[in-house]
Amino acid sequence: MDIGVLIQILVWGIYAGCIYILLAIGLNLIFGVMKVVNFAHGELLMLGAYAAFWIYTFSSINPYLIVPLSMLLIAILGIFIERLCFRPIMGTGKLNEIFLSLGLIYLFQNLVAFLWSTNSRYIRSPYGEVVVHIGAIKLPLDYLIIIIVTIVFLIAFQLFMKKTTTGRAMRATSQNREAAALMGINVERMDMLSFALGSALAAAAGSLWLISGQMANPYMGAIPAIKAFAVVIIGGLGSIPGAIIAGMTLGIAENVVPYFMQALVAVFGYEMSFTGWKDTIAFLILIIVLILRPTGIFGERGE
């Protein structure tokens, strides 16, 4: 086994973990405040990627500068989704929320396929060819940028939730909606904000993914969304630290474990690649956690 390669794979894992974390935190936030599970969260990632793609195609400015713009657009879309779709059915039962968000998946996937075809789209990062050398280790600059950007987002998000009046009001709403209203908090505005913020984080994940070399197509959101749900469940519903740890674990495990497996069979003289096992490993972890600790690592009892 080559340590340099291992570290490289580790960085890929962290990079994948960042995407899952950005998605999972949005899911957690929306669930926390509204108690709604938005299954169409992956489609917000997809739309964020498309937003970045089109803005880049028409402006060709540095794609990293497009990320905030894409976040803003999808945040506005999120507000519309909350207002027009989720608010009218709030309190009418979980089944309605599930069907509604499943419907949104098909709506957005097919709308995008209809408008912009199912062709894969990609953009060239200006740093696509840049590789950072640390000793013998080669790391794509794009991956490092994404990891740093994610860390910055997480810190900003945490500061917002802990230190600002609005962040505190959102936490209050997620802990006790009625008591929050008694404090003079407009809880419906908090719903709207949580949806906008969650959508923006999904758009950040989508556009960062696109910039780092992933293809955009109408169905790109499905797998990351399922992974993000796994992250939410593993980390514990509603727990932000849980989501960060679970997201990192999942991202690293699904990249490093195939490498170990490859090294293992190499000992017996076989040469096989296990990179196709990524998703299997991710969901195996989910199953194990659900068996050992159904409430997730940081989860609480109840609900």
């Binding site: 209050a172 008694l182 404090m183 003079g184």
Partner: protein
């Protein structure tokens, strides 16, 4: 200060309040008494805007508030300490109190208000970094009252503040209400602890099955034949 006329409220299709009318003058402590299910909590929740009234009017400081959502009624100067306290368990005591001053009317007065409630409850200042959910029931009740006071309410409504508390703590709760009355806070108290409640009230209304059946001065009601028989067991 508060004037309620002909209030009818229904849950789903079941009517729970029937033609409720009463009023509270500034500076008064008024108690709603009655057994479980008499409609006391429903009454205060409707005033606060957590429940919608079917018909009737609620006027506060000569403004109609029955169409306003709860958070706007807080801005008008009405605060409710809900039954079961409903503090934010995963936040510190201090954060709970800061949230109490969320209303824009109260936000600028945060420092003064903190000083005020820490004066009333010195224990809260000692515990201000503690997670609210880890405090005892009595401490949580104090926090809930203090948190409501942080909004600088003109009218403070307390829904069964003595529920489930040890007798010593119950006395402390009533002491605080007395203190608040001395400071000029108008109080609407919902209680089952009739003896204590009547002692500190100027006036009281007795509710049964969603209607007000009796009203009078606190001191008169303590000696009222019906009250003694039905509620005090004498």
């Amino acid at each position: 200060m508060l004037e309620i006329r002909g209030l009818n409220v229904s849950y789903e299709r079941v009517q729970v309040l029937w033609d409720i009318s009463f009023n509270i003058e500034a500076g008064e402590v008024v108690t709603l008494l009655g057994s479980n299910g008499a409609g006391k909590s429903t009454t205060v929740k409707t005033i606060q805007g957590l429940l919608k009234s079917g018909s009737g009017s609620i006027r506060f400081m000569n403004r109609s508030i029955d169409e306003l959502p709860a958070y706007k009624i807080v801005e008008e100067g009405v605060a409710l300490v809900p039954e079961g306290r409903e503090i934010f368990p995963k936040m510190s005591v201090l954060e709970n109190l800061i949230l109490g001053a969320y209303a824009s009317r109260a936000r600028d007065l945060l420092k003064d208000s903190l000083e005020w409630v820490f004066n009333l409850y010195p224990k809260l200042e000692e515990r201000k970094e503690q997670l609210a959910g880890t405090m005892s029931g009595g401490e949580q009740q104090m926090l809930a009252i203090a948190r409501a006071l942080m909004s600088k309410p003109k009218l403070l409504m307390l829904d069964e503040p003595s529920l489930g508390l040890a007798p010593v703590i119950v006395l402390q709760v009533f002491d605080i209400i007395k203190k608040l009355k001395e400071e000029g806070v108008t109080v609407l108290l919902v209680e089952q602890n009739i003896h204590h409640a009547l002692e500190i009230s100027d006036r009281a209304y007795i509710m049964e099955k969603g209607r007000i059946i009796l009203e009078g001065k606190g001191s008169d009601l303590i000696n009222n034949h019906y009250v003694r028989e039905a509620y005090l067991g004498m």
